[in-house]
């Protein structure tokens, strides 16, 4: 009750008052904007977010100009139900198993039940992916990316989203054609 009357007084003096105070009007607009912050935050956490890709683990697919520019690629990270309908070849974002605060971009190479031939420095030559896990790798040459070949299969629960579109550079603007990627599981 007290809150609503306060609100009415604030509104009344900002909109209907004979001398509308600029400070009041600004404060009102700022409060009005602040009420949207939870909605924006929730949307960025659970629906979609524009993300700048750091590092070269997906080179040359992303950050292809790393040697000639400091500019980095911007992608659309779709975060709704990231664990569902996963396919081999999809580009995903995940919490790095070794560094909880770091979000990494990798490509899904194998799904649960698949048998995959590993690369260096993984200690065993073939691995069957356990329940609820996937195998992720960077696109770059071996050793350029910290991926499943170092930390092993990762739980699907670590996935935070799926990279569906490239937004910047504009020359690459468009959907990610992940199905064109081919990496045989066992050679």
């Amino acid at each position: 009750m007290a809150l609503s009357s306060l609100w009415a007084r604030l509104r009344g003096s900002a909109a209907g008052g004979s001398t509308p105070s600029l400070t009041r009007a600004t404060a009102l607009h700022l409060i009005g904007f602040a009420t949207w912050i939870p909605v924006i935050a929730w949307f960025n956490l659970h629906v979609a977010e524009l993300t700048v890709v750091d590092g070269n683990s997906m080179y040359p697919f992303m950050n292809a100009d790393r040697d000639s520019s400091l500019r980095r690629d911007v992608v659309l990270n779709y975060k709704w139900a990231p664990q569902e309908d996963l396919q081999r070849g999809m580009v995903v974002t995940l919490r790095s198993p070794f560094h909880p605060e770091v979000v990494a971009v990798k490509r899904v190479v194998a799904l649960e039940g698949d048998v995959i031939k590993t690369k260096k420095p993984y200690p065993v030559s073939t691995v069957r992916i356990p329940q609820g896990h996937v195998w992720v790798e960077g696109d770059g040459p071996p050793g350029s990316s910290l991926d499943s070949n170092t930390y092993g299969p990762v739980s699907k629960r670590l996935l935070t989203g799926r990279v569906t579109h490239i937004v910047y550079p504009l020359s690459k603007l468009g959907p990610v054609k992940w199905w064109e990627h081919d990496r045989p599981l066992v050679e």
């Binding site: 009420t35 949207w36 939870p38 909605v39 935050a41 929730w42 956490l45 664990q83 919490r95 790095s96 198993p97 070794f98 560094h99 909880p100 605060e101 356990p130 329940q131 609820g132 896990h133 930390y151 990762v154 739980s155 699907k156 629960r157 670590l158």
Partner: protein
């Protein structure tokens, strides 16, 4: 009059959306109260009917220590969450097996960014002894206490005892 009728349901919808998002964020980032089920944490929590409060600022394993009870995403299941006790943090040496059973002398060092979690009820618990070290990123919060049933309310204890050197 028309603008009032049109404006009002819209304003109502928008307010509902804002409050829902705020509540969801509070539940996932500040404090969550949820029912606990299953025998894995006996006798700390009963099999059914206990409600526990979790401090979600400990998400991603921030500030988690050995002995803490954590709410975590079970790595081998798609949607289930669990509650277990942290036995080892990165760098600690832990036993792969169960105390008093064959295999208990096998030790590993908990890898970087992971922890080792085990239930209080050793024979009836699915934990790190089955699925291995848990990535800290799968920790959602730290259990701070039991709320319901109200007569059994209490803060969570880490179970560690100080010993004189």
């Amino acid at each position: 009059m028309i603008s009032h009728l049109l404006g009002h349901p819209l304003r109502f919808t928008i307010s509902t959306l804002k409050i829902t998002c705020l509540a969801h964020l509070a539940l996932s980032h500040a404090l969550q109260v949820s029912p606990a089920q299953g025998p894995s944490m006996l006798p700390t929590f009963t099999v059914d009917g206990d409600w526990i409060a979790a401090d979600m600022t400990y998400r991603l394993g921030r500030g988690v220590k050995v002995g803490d009870l954590v709410l975590y995403k079970i790595p081998i299941f798609a949607t289930q969450n669990g509650v277990k006790r942290v036995i080892g943090m990165p760098g600690d040496y832990v036993s792969l097996g169960t105390p008093g059973e064959p295999g208990e002398e096998q030790m590993i060092q908990v890898p970087e960014g992971h922890c080792w979690i085990v239930g209080d009820n050793l024979p009836a618990s699915r934990d790190s002894r089955q699925f291995g070290p848990l990535p800290l990123a799968l920790i959602q919060g730290k259990i701070i206490g039991k709320i319901l049933p109200w007569k059994d309310r209490q803060w969570a204890k880490d179970g560690l005892e100080k010993v004189d050197p």
